[in-house]
Symmetry: none
């Protein structure tokens, strides 16, 4: 492993930077770099723990502004390529701009994760989250 | 809200940057900035959900065996007592025994949490999970 | 065919009889018998036109009071016996008592119809309706 | 509301009674009374839906090819203009091309009808159908 420190620049909306800085300060981080490094590590843990070929059920929750050009066409195209994993999608209109879309999914963990990654990476998705749960078979309860 | 794009530099270990880049590519993001912006928004959603009176949207995912005596009557009774927070519920039949129920919810964070806690505590619920997201208003994106 | 007139007695809640009588008069029927005979003929036409072994998609809409003893257990048991025909079910809480449940269905027309008949006949279902539509394949449009 | 059970007699041709009995049995009803009460409620729902300012619940079912240029953007734009009437939308992927979208709706009959007309008229919608039902309040059952 190379332990050297790398410096690189990133860009985001000024609005988001302002909100990031408030959180960095509220959480007591020394600076943005430290906070972002923590987020990256968290995300890596989640990224790796997911996947695998076990059967899971779950949900993918997306929030986006449906006025964003072509966003729905792109989200739907990805969904139709994963027809096998998607049971159905629930769409709620949060306000004039914002939609929440919830996909009920089922299948191999790695394929469900790939579907979630693809949807969340679509430009214009404000927040996306994969929630994995059991298919119920493993727990007798 | 200022929609201008801000550019700033951050630093982290070369090792972490390498792992970040692998994940950025595996998830299908166009670049590091887009991936990090998504992590920041994710962290903001979680950070703010701690604030009880903040408006949030989200989902509650439940898996249970519908043959359990009275389980549906109990789940529905709780849901009807929180009619204001629940947009709608999606019910999928996973197999002959197991159901996945996904509630699309919206409202004050503390009330949504109380609803989730109540549902997850019902005897016979094999797994339950509250996933919080944004109402979309806080992120201009 | 025997054209003789048969007379038989039926029972329903006094509340429903009152609403029936208002409608009988508003529609200009001479009496209840004439109105009910028309409803029976309408229902027979619908009953016969449905069915068959063609593939259809559609929805089954149910309204019921979830406080009715065991109604949900009975509705869910029927749904799990028709797992193949049901894509997913959307449940909306109309008020403290009343639920609207919408099943998205797909399959052979006769099997879907059997499922709908079974659900609508459950005691306590206030109103139920099968809406058949196309699977989209037959119309190029 | 008076919940007492009323018993009354009706008459129809023996031929029609025979066909009614076959249907009652095929549909799984316990007896003629139960089947006729369901027909009466169905007829009442339809009869009342003509009254523009009456509160109704219902579903709008749409089938379309999501590859049709801009069809989703158009459907969503109309839905966001009727946010008050729409509880949530269930989206099912029938195959690579065809989607079935089911809107759970509630509100004044005339406004719900206007929403349905607008959606069904969108170019590329292969089939659309408004199914009206009761909000449950009018039937004690």
């Amino acid at each position: 492993m190379h332990k050297s420190i790398h410096r690189f620049s990133i860009s985001m909306s000024g609005d988001l930077v302002a909100q990031l800085d408030q959180m960095v300060s509220a959480k007591g981080y020394a600076n943005r770099s430290q906070a972002i490094a923590d987020m990256v590590r968290d995300e890596l843990v989640e990224h790796r723990s997911a996947g695998g070929n076990r059967q899971i059920a779950g949900t993918i929750t997306l929030v986006y502004d449906h006025h964003r050009r072509n966003i729905q066409a792109r989200l739907t195209a990805i969904q139709h390529d994963h027809g096998e994993q998607i049971i159905a999608t629930l769409h709620a209109h949060l306000d004039h701009h914002n939609c929440m879309e919830v996909l009920a999914v089922r299948g191999r963990a790695d394929q469900v994760k790939k579907l979630a990654d693809g949807l969340i990476a679509v430009k214009g998705v404000k927040h996306g989250k994969l929630t994995m749960t059991t298919t119920g078979r493993e727990f007798a309860k």
